[in-house]
Amino acid sequence: MDFETIIGLEVHAQMLTDTKIFCGCSTKFGAAPNSHTCPVCLGMPGVLPVLNKKVVEYAMKMALATNCVINKSCEFARKNYFYPDLPKGYQISQYAYPLAEHGYVLLETNGEQRKIGITRIHMEEDAGKLLHDEHNPVSYVDLNRTGVPLIEIVSEPDMRSPEEAADYLKRLHEILVYLEICDGNMEEGSFRCDANVSIRPRGQKEYGTRTELKNMNSFRNVQRALEYEIKRQQYLVENGETVVQETRLWDDAQGVTSSMRSKEEAHDYRYFPDPDLVPIMIDDAWVKKINEELPELPPAKRERFIKDYQIPAYDVGVLTADKALALYYEEVVKLCNKPKVASNWLMGDVMRFLNEDKRSIRECPIKPESLADMIKLIEEGAISGKMAKEVVEDMYKTGKSPQEIIKEKGLVQITDEGELVKAITSIIEANQAQVVEYRGGKEKVFGFFVGQVMKATKGKANPQLVNELLKKMLAG
């Protein structure tokens, strides 16, 4: 049977604020357990939430960047359930009136554009963390994460393959990071994804029964989990069994999804408007202000890079994947005006160094001015490309400017004709046999002479000049 896959994603992104959504506690990851806590986020009796304005503004940025309509009025609701990581016995979220709705992002695969709808974006608070004792039947509760601001981005069931789901996720991730409203760290849980997936015979209108997948903490895992789950559902259907609507956990080690039965009891969250929080009214002026603060987003940036710098699409893709990298690149180009050369150095040597050290471009010891200077020195002929390889590595190691390194290492290219003629003359004299071979038509020997000159000048000779002079002098 030919099946069509239907995927919808729910993404939770942690907002990059200094403090929690409803209290002044820090949002920093990795603090001592239960230290970033106060009566408000501990859910103590009588305390009250007050909304962090920045969370609203960050959520508005995401809404605008994903073409959503921001509602003029929205409100918080309580989602009631008992769990030890939920100190109030309810999560403050948005329900009937979310911040924004009806958005989309455009995906491009093989030159074909696909529109993935976004149902809604809403704000909510995160829950705490549970640790389970391996030996005793107890669990430990850490409430540092409680109240950390999240936005939930719910997509329409518009994706048709795991690859497309992964593409969509990467696109959301890219936008969030570009907006600087989320650090995008999947391992620390700043960017999390649940997937709803179902299959149906191609041509059928009704959706099949869907399952909800959780616990996938990387793009790759999302794709793998979806692939597994689709196969599992297909197997069930093809064998006359039915897919059960349930939540399934992805097991990374086993590469399978498994039912989360203990949580299967009927969900009855008893949502109602939170009486402790007041409606949020967003007027056009506020939307306009936030819109003006939006940075250039990746699709626009890519278009501009292609147009302005005339570099290949591949280079543009790599350079714009990270906003900081794009910024770095633009600075280098502005200073040296060599877009393709700059791209080559950045994507080649510099990124290789960074990858080896697992560093981001923000932590790059080479300043954009230094890289631009080095490119200029090559263009001026002051150093050779080969020397530059050495220089760039030293720049990375020491953070020094290329001029300093060249000076320290005495890496100045020999461009003095007289000096080179002298060296070539003695090489010709010492290697008469090869001269004869060359003059007899064996042009390969030319390389031998180049090597000899470089050896004699310790690689400092300007290769172009060496070529010219050798040709002239060997010709006799």
């Binding site: 009566p39 501990l42 859910g43 103590m44 009796p45 009588g46 305390v47 009250l48 939430p49 007050v50 909304l51 309580r78 009631n80 008992f82 030890p84 100190p87 109030k88 016995g89 309810y90 039947p137 509760v141 009927a266 009855d268 008893r270 949502y271 109602f272 009486p275 402790d276 929080l277 007041v278």
Partner: protein, 485 residues
């Protein structure tokens, strides 16, 4: 007169002219407590040592001439407001050992005004009740008749003032919990406009209805207390950032040419004849004071109790979910599984009235019932609010009985929750509409039980309430009686 029998403003005079010390006042309050507390049971916890230490400090301030509005004045706090470092139980077993690491805003304000805290007053568990019988720590008795209830839920705060076990006190009012016990104990009690007094640190019962207010021996003291506790608090989202007038300026002003609405729906069958007579008399006093009383209609009055008993329990069911035995308070012993921990802890930690309301509220919000109950009640609430908006167009204030009957006997209504709920019939609409209300003594029954008259005004019109209550108090010349204990 003993010092503990005086009002705030009387004591302030004496403090200012150095005729008494804060220590003397405080000691006089504690000697009264020693004499009567065993019978009245106004308090869950007394803070004698702290109070005497605070009084000694106040006396140093007084000597230096550093006298603040409440310097040296002994105040009782309903055990629903959080006090840093002092156990705050909310009348419940589930919080019997909870020591807040923070003060409620109202406590901060009172403390910086110089108040001396005497103790934490008894209350219905989580403020759910109209009689102070649901307290985990046992009932409070009405100082006027120890066989009877003092009203609730702030029964301890009201009884403490009526029995002169403090000078004034703080209560909270979700459906009448200040005004009803004030009426039944023969004192003044005000429920301010929602958003006027900070709820930060007030343990929530029904967040959209709860409001803190004072119990005092007279209207002037009410104004003094309001001056201190009213005002915007950035720690509360529903706090209103509006100017707070000096409420004392409304004392002694006349009410000539004021229009006073008398809602016909409040003069119904079931109202005690003696209460009815006392209110009729109050209306005459108001008219003699220059007010013009007109019959008005609040057509949705008969729906208030039903509306309230959806909204309040719904919010409560969510507000009380945090009492789960994980972070603070009581946890059942010997529980091995998580679900068991939750269920047994909450079964043993809550009393039956609280459980009943959690059940109603959970049901009203549960899948399939939200629209029929919670949403419907919220819509009717809008209609009730609209009734008041219309009424306050022509009227300055509204006058009603505070309660349909005087204090009933302990145990009389405990087995019939619905009858208990109906005793709040005249006070509930105020909370639903968010408007302020005050109850002022207006006489006694033949048995010597106090009766209260209630004045209601539009949002943030507490000044009008002080003005009419003060005019009424002056002109009614209600006989000064003290409970014989």
């Amino acid at each position: 007169m003993e010092l503990n029998q005086l009002t705030i403003h009387e004591l302030q005079e004496k403090i200012k002219n150095n005729s008494v010390t804060a220590t003397q006042i405080t000691e006089s309050v504690f000697s009264r407590i020693d004499a009567v507390e065993e019978r009245v049971h106004s308090y869950i916890r007394l803070m004698k040592e702290d109070a005497l230490a605070a009084a000694a400090k106040a006396d140093v301030d007084i000597k230096k001439g550093n006298i603040k509005p409440l310097t040296g004045i002994p105040i009782a706090l309903k055990d629903i407001v959080c006090t840093k470092g002092i156990t705050t139980t909310c009348g419940s077993r589930i919080l019997h050992n909870f020591v807040p690491p923070y003060n409620s805003t109202v406590v901060e304000k009172l403390r910086s005004a110089g108040a001396i805290f005497i103790g934490k007053a008894n209350m219905d568990e989580f403020a759910m009740g109209s009689s102070t019988e649901t307290s985990y720590f046992g009932p409070t008795r009405n100082p006027w008749d120890l066989e009877r209830i003092p009203g609730g839920s702030s029964g301890g705060s009201a009884a403490a003032v009526a029995a002169d076990e403090c000078i004034a006190s703080i209560g909270s009012d979700t459906g009448g919990s200040i005004r009803q016990p004030a009426a039944l104990c023969g004192i003044v009690g005000m429920k301010p406009t929602y958003g006027r007094v900070s709820r930060f640190g007030l343990i929530a019962f029904a967040s959209s209805l709860d409001q803190i207010g004072p119990f005092t021996k007279d209207v002037e003291d009410c104004a003094i207390m309001m001056n201190i506790i009213a005002g915007y608090d950035p720690k509360e989202s529903t706090s209103v950032n509006a100017e707070v007038p000096d409420y004392r300026q409304f004392i002694g002003r006349d009410i000539k040419s004021w229009k006073i609405g008398i809602p016909k729906e409040y003069f119904i069958e079931g109202v005690d004849p003696e209460v009815n007579a006392a209110i009729k008399k109050a209306i005459r006093v108001i008219e003699q004071s220059g007010g013009q009383c007109v019959e008005i209609s609040l057509p949705h009055t008969q729906y208030c109790v039903a509306t309230y008993y959806i909204i309040a329990p719904a919010e409560a069911s969510s507000n009380l979910a945090r009492y789960d035995g994980v972070k603070y308070g009581f946890r059942a012993a010997d529980v091995r599984e998580l679900l068991e921990m939750y269920k047994i802890t909450r079964m043993q930690g809550f009393g039956s009235e609280v459980k009943r309301r959690i059940m109603i509220g959970t049901y009203a919000l549960s899948a399939g019932y939200y629209d029929a109950y919670y949403k419907k009640a919220s819509q009717v609430r809008a209609l009730i609010k609209h009734d008041f908006d219309e009424a306050f167009k022509p009227c300055d204030v509204i006058l009603t009985p505070t309660t349909p009957t005087p204090a009933f006997k302990i145990g009389e209504k405990t087995d019939d929750p619905l009858q208990m709920y109906l005793s709040d019939v005249f006070t509930i609409s105020t909370n639903l509409a968010g408007i302020p209300g005050i109850s002022v003594p207006c006489g006694f029954t033949s048995r010597g039980l106090p009766i209260g008259v209630q004045f209601l005004a539009g949002h943030f019109e507490e000044g009008k309430l002080i003005q009419i209550a003060s005019a009424y108090e002056k002109n009614a010349k209600i006989e000064k009686r003290r409970p014989t204990l």
